[in-house]
Symmetry: C2
Subunit: 371 residues, 2 copies
């Protein structure tokens, strides 16, 4: 044992008299899973059990409990790190993970985002201004139709063209021909424009098929990979982020992760889940539904996500907050004011509906961010 | 397209006037991810978009919406099935998945539990009466100590001895020597007793290591595998359940899944998550925290889980509801009354604390269920 510990801050709801007791129980639950009287003295009691470092009154009620854990309890595995942070306590009410302070040893072990903002900017050769992203949709379109959409958007100057995350390997639009056709369409457009648009296929897939899809996508010239860690597990993303043969930017989609943040008194804070945890797992961009769109995230929650994507975490690079989820082009000025330039805007439907000329629509989108 | 559809029932909170509208939006969100006016006529509109089949007033308020989806939208992948069921809608409030009706084609495709109640009973050679399970703990004990605990419990007649789910591959108790020693200890005890206790190591692990652990465990004589699909992703469990080389009963642990059920107006019902979904993913036993223990599940929620484990789902076998989470031996009579004989009782800490003689404690546990 190195004596190194990492800390997690939990927000606890409930009465003040019970906060310390609740924190102590969590420190046991997340490690030894037995009542205090069954914890053997010595090594286990002094080093394995979580330690309640601090309890303070929360700014808006409740209590903030800081608990530290020996880094070795995680076995240096992302699956077990998640378990120590919140595994069993996820089954209790009134507990929310609001901050992670992993320390350099754990952060370096997981290695974090490979590209980050700077790396992704280099890929698409856009300095300073916001990156623009759109999605190929809807599900049900043929391979040829999707490739044509990709071509039009790339011609208009979109930087990142991703599959809708529901496109996987449906019989009416199989993965391989889709990826081949869309990658080719984007490459053709790039040849005309001289730009560096990337096509980012969705490789969210069953365990047994994910590697085939990743390598196929890479071979066809995909410029990044879209993955929904809520569907595959966070470690799948981490494995892709660290595999030297993959070496592509990873864009995280929030599908199925909503339950972890939707209850303000339970789960993970938006900042931890869509910022800190995704960076630990190696995301280079974090898609989330912006406030005011089809979903219910608040402006403050979105701001916190952007902070989580960019706050100091050891030597991890900052990553792109990627607000989407039913944004309109009219929202861009307000989003620019909130997020500044270190952002990737994801606009899907609105880019289809503005006019039948998708290339024009894309150009208009660029003009809104001063490009 | 075969025309075959599967249905999901969602409970929607909120006003009656908005229920139909909300359901229609979900049917779009879970498939095409565009507003209705952008849905192309023909194939996409008639077959790809989810269809609202029924809206009825909920028994205790709110509305129940039945939505059907073309089976092909799932691409016959568990990751994408989860996405169609609840991917984007997880990011919205007031939506809970309360029932799945997949139909025979999808159920057969995923193949479900390989062993189920009958298969697991055969493995441990116990007919009719409840199975008894305990956990090796706490984290921090040495390999030799855990193996000795396993030996004592097996000698006392426990059927299933599992790792605590926090034991993975920590430097102070590595996976391989632990599995080897515990499997051997249980085999030795079986030789003395003539019984068929199984050791079930925890193989929850990063993607890159899970197969090594599974095959090592199998080679050492593990009689089943413990996995937490909330940490690995559900498809990892499904892959293990269908791999002919694995061919071991799978016991599901609920770590990190709590957020999906903790909010009564959001996520999945207990019955769907810990019953239906785990069976689709191939679990043979579903561990969950029983009411009245360290966690807050209610008696009704636990009953619903047991129903979800055993209700008719095509030709899937029923699986063991496995209530645990701080149960005391005193609770057994009440639990017997609730669950009957088709149950596996998981008792950890209480089996350590009753007396220093673990073999005696185990025998007493058996006597409580008439064995």
């Amino acid at each position: 044992m190195t004596g190194q510990r990492f800390t997690v801050i939990y927000h606890l709801t409930g009465k003040d008299t019970t906060a310390l007791e609740k924190a102590k129980i969590m420190a046991l639950e997340q490690t030894v899973e037995v009542n205090e009287e069954l914890v053997p003295a010595g090594f286990i009691r002094s080093q394995i059990v979580g330690q309640v470092e601090q309890i303070t009154a929360g700014k808006t009620g409740g209590y903030d409990a800081t608990i530290s854990y020996a880094v070795e309890t995680t076995a240096f595995e992302l699956t077990q790190l998640l378990n120590v942070i919140f595994g069993n306590s996820s089954l209790k009410t009134g507990i929310q993970v609001t901050h992670l302070e992993l320390g350099d040893e754990l952060l370096n072990h997981f290695s974090g985002p490979r590209f980050g903002i700077a790396g992704l900017r280099q890929q698409v050769q856009v300095e300073d201004k916001p990156l623009l992203c759109t999605a190929l949709k809807p599900m049900g379109r043929t391979v040829a139709e999707l490739a044509e959409l990709a071509y039009q958007f790339a011609l208009g100057g979109i930087d990142v063209i991703k599959d809708d995350h529901g496109l996987t390997n449906q019989p009416f639009c199989p993965f391989q021909p889709r990826v081949q056709a869309c990658a080719e369409a984007v490459a053709n457009a790039n040849q005309q424009t001289g730009k560096h648009c990337i096509y980012v296929p969705n490789i969210t897939a069953p365990m047994s098929q994910i590697w085939d899809r990743v390598y196929y996508a890479k071979q066809q010239g995909a410029g990044g990979l879209l993955i929904a860690p809520g569907l595959t597990g966070f470690d799948t993303m981490h494995t892709l982020a660290t595999d030297p043969q993959v070496n592509l930017p990873l864009i995280a989609h929030p599908a199925l992760l909503g339950s972890m943040v939707i209850n303000p008194e339970h789960g993970f804070s938006h900042q931890v889940l869509f910022g800190q945890l995704l960076r630990i797992a190696g995301a280079d961009a974090s898609i989330y539904p912006n406030y005011g769109g089809r979903f219910g995230f608040t402006k403050t929650e979105c701001q916190r996500i952007a902070e989580g994507c960019q706050q100091v975490m050891g030597n991890y690079p900052p990553i792109f907050p990627t607000p989407g989820g039913g944004m309109n082009l009219e929202n861009i000025p307000e989003m620019l004011a909130l997020y500044g330039n270190q952002v990737m805007f994801l606009i899907g439907g609105a880019l289809y509906s503005r006019s039948p000329n998708l290339t024009d629509n894309a150009r208009y989108f660029l003009s809104l961010v001063g490009r």
